[in-house]
């Protein structure tokens, strides 16, 4: 049974929340009720998979984001400028109204020197220094993805580069969008909310409630198999994957109804267990990802 067959107004509303917010932002910016904020996209120690995921955005897409929602002033992956000029563009934003989005973890090892993000006026700039300089000045700070939120895979044991989440090095609130990667809608929706209304309603760990309020398990299309005790014993089966190690019961995120890449699929629909990538503690607390022998801990 696919979640697409449901016609629940609650779910419908959730799915459209990002698109509705974004449409309002655009209207208000055009009507000059709102000024487009600057947006800095800062990559730190990670895989740069969140900007790749952001480019997968659809309604709004990336062109709409940079044309109608915000002035992106910096992105290591996309900036046309390079070298010192790029670093100037990064730090020139200080003093303006800007939102800081960070992907990747903050490496603390050797004062951050395991992650050099550029050279400004000949001096090496560490990820740690950049996030602290920008983070304290930004109107809002958004940690995009698992690594920026809580260290993620960059902080997996034995945490070779002493990685931590962005909030650990800032004396301020950081909006958390855990997930590996972050779904483009989670970021676009959060950004649109900030532009329109300011800080979105957050849970106790600073995750926007509009995306992170419910566990995967609560809305899983395979929930009836769980309730009836019908469990898959290998991948590729259409029943509940709890005994293969599925982390849906502990992972708060809206994957079952939002799905991925234009809403075509998601891990459980793909007959593989949720590995809890949007939950704190990923990856160490979520392993083993796939467990064929549930009676014996691996």
């Amino acid at each position: 049974m696919s979640s697409k067959n449901f016609k629940c107004p609650y779910q419908d509303n959730k799915l459209k929340s990002t698109a509705n917010l974004v449409a309002r932002v655009n209207n208000d910016i055009k009507a000059e009720k709102l000024v487009k904020p600057n947006l800095v996209w800062l990559e730190l120690n990670g895989c740069a998979g969140n900007i790749i995921s952001l480019l997968n955005g659809q309604n709004p897409d990336f062109q709409y984001l940079i044309t109608d929602m915000a002035n992106i002033t910096y992105s290591n992956s996309l900036l046309a400028a390079e070298g010192n000029q790029a670093m100037n563009e990064l730090f020139d934003v200080i003093g303006s109204n800007f939102i800081l989005a960070v992907e990747g973890a903050v490496s603390l090892k050797e004062d951050g020197r395991y992650n050099i993000i550029g050279r400004h006026n000949h001096e090496a700039v560490t990820g740690l220094e950049a996030v602290q300089r920008l983070g304290e000045q930004a109107a809002y700070v958004i940690a995009v993805g698992a690594c920026a939120s809580h260290g993620g895979i960059s902080a997996a044991r034995p945490n070779p580069t002493s990685c931590v989440g962005v909030h650990e090095v800032l004396q301020r609130k950081v909006i958390q969008l855990p997930g590996c990667p972050c779904h483009p809608d989670w970021f676009m929706g959060t950004l649109a909310y900030i532009i329109l209304y300011g800080e979105p309603p957050l849970d106790s760990r600073n995750r926007p409630l509009m995306f992170y309020s419910t566990t995967i398990h609560d809305r899983c299309p395979r929930r009836s198999y769980f309730d009836n005790g019908i469990f898959a014993t290998k991948l590729g089966e259409k029943t509940c994957m709890f005994k293969l190690g599925c982390r849906g019961p502990v992972t708060r995120i809206d994957c079952p109804i939002r799905q991925w890449n234009g809403h075509v699929n998601w891990p459980i629909e793909d007959d593989s267990p949720c590995i809890g990538c949007a939950q704190f503690g990923f990856p160490d607390a979520m392993e083993p990802f796939v467990n064929f022998n549930p009676t014996k801990g691996v």
Binding site: G46, A48, T73, A80, G118, A156, P160, D270, E287
Partner: protein
């Protein structure tokens, strides 16, 4: 007198990189490529459940996560003595092919194009410090349009990937045996129809765009060549019934193509920040990068689309920065054809999954060519856990540090290149981006220095 140029960050790549070059009379006389981040995945993987390596190693790289899933799966299957079905191979190779298309579209339009095309100045993202833009206005305008239009097609490539792989980046589909789910007719036709649209964009836009750039920036056919040693582990190859659809494991050096022998791979660390025990050591004298120095027969090799296009015989115009970029675009079109063949050979509704047991012990290697070139994963399993894991990524080959006086591949490609204006040395970025560098992948290589027969890379 030599003038020293430092570029950091080299933007429009994955990860963080610095280039240091010395320029004398407007010619580069010395160059260093430096990886500026360290992550240490091999350390993290030790002690974990071997099966977790597939999803875990994907997180090495946000742009080529599928490549790592595939190499990891191949290494595990080798360690388990497990041979996947041909249907399983077709399915996961289709997922891998989707990543090729997504990567090549984004690398060409979002990472390469801004070096040659003046993007609209009303976007802060697109301001640059040089003015070497040569396209006539009409052509420039067309390419700006294609910069944005391409986003739809790279997104669609990820959508095809997700139809079989669950999500992208960091898919769940690729696993031991092939993929987790089954190819059903509705999925096959969905992918086929998206692929058709992407193929049309490649033919109508991307191919003409790259050749136009080649016309207006003609000297790039003659610079950025480097050693001209080419290597591929092979990909989309050696199917039981379909044979090789792309390229076999081959190397090219001194005008000669020969078979690739994995025993000839070695890795140096003389100029990389690792001590004698292979621990990261940022204080190490003389070291300048987190990237080690993979070698084949003790010499540096280039890997990637140009190596593959050359080795399979499809494209042998030359070895240069422009040829590298053209080969990438030609390869995207080749991949569309390969995907069509694989899709036509799928049998719908076949499950390729079994109940697997973690081996008590074993060792395996997974060598496969991926978007940026030759990728190797090596795994050693002891007590049903990962005892040792090693990764040599394509960008480790292309951005390797020196061994002795021998420069890395990317460094050598910069040697002798002209720099017209040392204040805005646009040539350097154009040459190095032709390799599609991915530093996130290249800089966490770690080994415990154990001598293991099945792992020649110590």
């Amino acid at each position: 007198m030599a003038e020293r140029i430092t570029i950091n960050p080299v933007t429009r790549i994955s990860g963080f990189m610095e280039i240091e070059a010395e320029v004398e009379n407007n010619i580069i006389v010395d160059a260093k490529t430096k990886g500026m981040m360290f992550r240490g995945f091999e350390k993290m993987l030790t002690g974990r459940n071997p099966f977790d390596a597939i999803y875990f190693t994907e997180r090495i790289c946000g742009i080529c996560s599928t490549a790592h899933a595939l190499a990891s799966t191949l290494a595990l299957e080798d360690a388990m003595d497990f041979v996947p079905s041909e249907q399983g191979r077709y399915l996961r190779d289709i997922i891998h092919a989707c990543e090729f298309l997504q990567n090549h579209l984004r690398h060409f339009y979002q990472y390469t194009l801004p070096d040659f095309v003046k993007l609209p100045a009303n976007y802060p993202l697109f301001q640059t410090g040089h003015n070497d833009y040569r396209l006539p206005k009409k052509l420039n305008d067309r390419m700006v349009e294609d910069y944005f239009a391409s986003l739809e097609f790279s997104r669609d490539a990820h959508q095809m990937l997700a139809i079989l792989g669950g999500k992208a980046p960091h898919n769940h589909g690729i696993f031991i045996g092939g993929i987790t789910s089954q190819a059903t007719v509705d999925k096959i036709i969905a992918i086929t129809s998206i692929l058709d649209k992407i193929g049309k964009f490649l033919d109508d836009k991307m191919l003409p765009d790259v050749f136009e750039i080649g016309k207006y920036y003609y000297e790039y056919y003659f610079i950025g060549g480097g050693y001209g040693n080419l290597l591929s582990y092979g990909c989309f190859d050696n199917y039981k019934e379909l044979g090789t659809l792309y390229v076999d494991p081959l190397v090219y050096s001194n005008n000669k193509i020969s078979a690739f022998n994995p025993d000839e791979i070695s890795q140096g660390r003389e100029f990389a920040w690792y001590d004698e025990a292979d621990e990261p050591d940022i204080q190490k004298q003389g070291a300048y990068s987190w990237i080690k120095a993979p070698r084949y027969n003790d010499v540096p090799y280039e890997v990637g689309p140009l190596a593959r296009q050359w080795l399979c015989g499809d494209y042998r115009n030359g070895i240069s920065a422009m040829d590298r970029t053209i080969a990438r675009v030609l390869e995207a079109r080749k991949i569309v054809g390969i995907m069509k063949t694989l899709l036509e050979n799928l049998i719908p509704g076949v499950s390729v999954q079994e109940h697997y047991t973690v081996p008590e012990k074993g060792s395996g290697k997974g060598l496969v060519d991926t978007t940026r070139g030759a990728l190797g994963h090596w795994v050693l399993v002891e007590d049903s856990k990962i005892a040792l894991y090693q990764i040599i990524s394509p960008s480790a080959w292309n951005l390797s540090t020196q061994t002795g006086n021998m420069k890395g591949t990317g460094e050598q490609s910069l040697m002798g290149a002209p720099v017209r204006d040392t204040q805005s040395p646009v040539e350097i970025g154009r040459i190095i981006r032709s390799f599609d560098p991915c530093v996130s992948c290249a800089t966490h290589v770690y080994s415990e220095g154990k001598c293991i027969n099945s792992m020649q890379v110590v």
